[in-house]
Every structure is written in C-alpha cells, then in structure tokens.
Amino acid sequence: MFKTYTFPEFDYVRSVDQDAAGATHHPVIVVGAGPIGMAAAIDFAQYGVNVVVLDDNNTVSVGSRAVCYAKRFLDISDRLGIGQRCIDKGVTWNLGRVFFEDEEIYNFNMLPEEHHRRPGFINLQQYYLEEYMVDRVNELEAADLRWKNKVVKVDQTDDVVRLTVETPEGPYELTCDYLVACDGASSNVRSQCGLESKGQIFHDRFLIADVIMDPKNFPPERWFWFNPPFHEGQSTLLHRQADNVWRIDFDLGWDADPEEEKKPENIIPRVKAFLGEDVEFDLEWASVYTFTCRRMDEFRHGRIFFAGDAAHQVSPFGARGANSGIEDTDNLTWKIKAVMDGLAPTELLNSYSDERTFAADENILNSTRSTDFITPKNEQNRVFRDAVLKLAKNYTFARPLVNSGRLSVPPFLTESWLNTEDTDKFDCKVVPGAPCTDGPIQRNGEETFLLSSLGNTFNGLLFVENRSDAEDAVLEQLGQLAQLPMPVKTFLVSNHEMDLQLPEGVELVVDTKGVVKQRLDAQAGTFYLTRPDQLVTARMRQFDKAAVIAAQSKALGNK
C-alpha cells in the first residue's frame, strides 16, 4: 500500500475478437501498455489508425521507475494530449548540487533558456504518467486497450503478423499489418522472434528508496553525492518527485544482497544516515536494481517494430529510458501511417531502425560514460575521478569533467538518409535531423508556441519581413504544397501582422519575441521543412517549391 498513491485496477473486458471464428485482423497492434506502448497507441489513434493495445497486467507501473522527463518528452506529450497534466503534477527543478565526501563542491543552476513552452525537465512518478496516458487512450475512439491480454505467440509472414493472446477466459488469435513491441527490457515479443538485445552488463546494484518528507526539510533540488561519509565508497542521489516524495538512490556495489537490502530494517538506517537522525520520513517504496546498457541490432524485424526498453536499455543516469522511448514511437508512427496510406515506400520503415539505433548509441555512450565516472572501473579511474572532484571545488575547469549523469537531450539525427543536406550556410544549433526549436508566437491573435503548432504533418516555415517577401506567386506555390497527397502546411513567420490573402493550408504567425527567427538563423526568404515528428529535414535561404517537394520525397524514404 502506498501512502500517497492508490493504484488503479483496470477491468479485463471480453473483446468481440474472442468470439470470432478465426483471427480478427487489425491494422496495428501494440504490445505493452507502459508509457512507450501507450504513447504509440495515442499517436496512432490521433492519426485515425485503429490500434489495439495488449497488456498482460491490469494496473500502472508499481513503484516509480522513470522519474525525470525532459523537454523533448514534454513537447511530444503535448501533441499526445497529456503534457499539461504532467506539468501540473510534476516538480520542476533547476538547482543541482554536487557533494564529495563531507562537503558540497559546487552547485549549478540549470535554468532553462527562456521562451520555450516547456521547462528543461520535470520529475514525476511513472505511475502518474501512465494513469494520464490510460485516460487519454480511453478518450480515443480508435484505440482499444485490453488488460490481462498476454501475448504468448508471435510469428509473421511477408504479409501479416499472427498473435496468440492468453486471457483469463482462454486464448484467442489476432492478426495485424504492423506490430509495435513496447513490452519492456525482457520483451517477450523479442524472444518470440528469436532476437536479442546485446551489450554490457554493469556489475553494480542500486537501492532506490522513495520516502515521504515534509517539503520544508529539503528543497526541490538534485543532490548527487560522491563517496558520502554515510555511505562510504559509493554514491547517493536525491531527487524530489510529486506528493512530497523524494527518490534516494544508493549505489550498493555488486556484493550487496538484494533481498536483504530491500528490507525496511536495512533501508531505514541508510536513509537516516543520509538525511540525519532527526528528519522524519515515511518509506513509500523501495527496490534494488541492476542495469545493462544494450540494444538490438535492428529495431525493425519485417512487420514487427521494437521501441523503448524492448529495443534498447541504458543506465538510469541521465534519464534516457522513457525519454528516448517516446522519441522512438514519435519517429515510428507517422512513418507507418504514411506507408499504410500508400504515400511512402516501405523502405521508409527501415529509417526508423536507422535513426533510432543511431539515437540509442548516443544514449548508451552517454549513459556508459556517466556510469564509469560514478562507479570507477579500476583503481586508477578512481584516482582520476577523485582528483576531478577535488579540483572542481576551487577550479571551474574541472567541473565539465564531473559526470553524475548527462541529462537526456534528443540526439540530432544528423546522419539520417531522410535529411536533405544543407547547400546554403546556416549558423545555429538546429540542423537537419534535429527537433525544431520552440518560441512564443501569435497565431490568429492568440499567444501560443511554435511547437504547439507544428507536427503530425509536414510543415514549412517561411520567414517574411514585408509584403514583397510574400509575392502572390510564392503564396500560390505554398497553397499547392498544402494540397500534396502528404500536405506541407506552411506558416509564414513575420515579426508583425500583415494583411495577406492566404491560400488554404497557409497561415501567418507572428514571432513575437523574434526568437524563432534568431534560433533558426533565418532571414527574409528562409524556408525550413519539418517532418510530422517536428524534426527539421531540410532548409534553404530562398524558398524553392521544387526543392521542397524533393526534400519531402526524400524524407518519405524515396531514394
């Protein structure tokens, strides 16, 4: 029993498919109703694709696994319709403190860049996120979430995927065009396919304790303690979540006995040694975990796609699990939709694996580096690590070397074959393969943000300063782009309102603070093309309709 949270129990409901004579066919089936599976389901349903989600359980994640959600996750959540609930419940923090032995060596303020809709990251227990997602799935006509439906057999031909599903009322059969496996680190679909996730197992154990405290006792900050006096030779992380619950993460070493360490009589003294004898707290939940950094060779296997922990796993430092998982499904759903609609060749589906294995490698690299710093692999590594920490107190040069986790940022898919290489010069962080930046805009006279307006289709951004930048001929061409089989809907971005006759699918937005223009290094005439997942895929200094069509064709997988 949790003191701060009551776990919902969802009903198993018999489906008409269980009474069908043969296997019922669905366009898309998702396995696993964790955050990644539900993100996929919501996205498909929002595209109007009928999707069935199968989950072997009937509640949300017990205990809080994922904690930290980064800006990109929140931006995607906004498009899925759950962003605001996460923000409202979650805890925003900016201050991080690094301790070594008995003293604070420095602190850092991660104050996010101004003028983005969402903060750098929030902390929220995973069960809340899942609850919001379940609610959202249930709002969507096209999504059918089935609890206590366990996939026990999977096979596929060139044309179809076949599933056997076990339920409390016995098994039944399903077929689908596409299967998305989001069934976690020990993915059953993966083993059914005879596939492996390969990588490095870390010989280390961690104890997570979620404790409830009076918020007056500890501020909403991230504390990372290397080699603390109360937990010698190891490390400890303190993080605040919603409901005055704090996450404490103790590195226990490899020799620790997980069953012993999980017992309250062993946890409480550890927590007291950390917080101080006088601090009152209640233990909410505890778990001992180990981790691996590994991934599958390919995330596409015919008509079966792997996403989230099923496809790749990292250490928890850097919060790259859920954050990268949602980027997976965001990358995948629009591609499957485009192929289903006959608007893209099936080769587009390979780009999911190409792009997301590239991203997984970056996450694994960062995560492995953090782990190696936090838990030095040999004596000399420890000497360097400790030297960095001691120097960091008085000499700022050493601080960038301190690695207590590099917080998730979306990998820039710079090597993707869907991108159109720049032929013009640009000087900004956003490049083809990167998510588009955000910034406050005025749309139809209302204050909103650019990222709230982009996505789910191809978008163009054409920067204009005055009437002469938006000649009738250009507007006509933009109107034609909006009528393509896969429409490109363009926003004219200006620093002031303009009285223009705009064709359907073309809108004017006002870049109220000028930050969109600045962040994209734009001038009058500059054009950016973004994909349905808001990634920039091409850009040019002068709008050229033929070049935009060619870039879109490339982004749809035409070689």
Binding site: V383, F384, D386, A387, V388, K390, L391, F397, A398
Partner: protein, 69 residues
C-alpha cells in the same frame, strides 16, 4: 589542429625536471598518484587540443604490448 610537439620545447629542462621530481619527494604512492592525476588534468585543460592530447596518450603507452582479453 597543432601536432604534439616532440622536439625539445622546455627552456630550462634541468630546472623543470627537478621541480617535477621535487613535487613528489615527500609523498607516499597514493599521494603521488593523486598529484599526478591532478597535474594531468590541469595540463590537459591548458592544452585544450583533443588531437594533441590523443597523440600524447598514444605515445605514452606505445611501448606496452597490446593486452589480450
């Protein structure tokens, strides 16, 4: 990027060498390793040229035969 300087570059080699060894004169092994680590970190940051540092790291262990797993 500049290549690692492998020709003599220290204005007073003897004085430098003495200072380097004096640095460790009264230290035990553990202290020496700590001081060396700090020195490497300070100098690396000062050099700030990743390519030159990689070259130095390679040369520093080129005499050691590659270790089999």
């Amino acid at each position: 990027m500049a290549n690692l300087i492998l020709e003599p570059n220290l204005p007073d080699a003897d004085a430098f060498y003495k200072e380097l060894t004096d640095l460790h004169r009264d230290l035990n092994n553990e202290q020496s390793r700590d001081v060396n680590a700090r020195l490497i970190l300070l100098l690396s940051n000062h050099i700030g040229d990743h390519e030159a540092l990689s070259q130095a790291m390679n040369i520093a262990r080129e005499h050691i035969p590659p270790q089999g797993e």
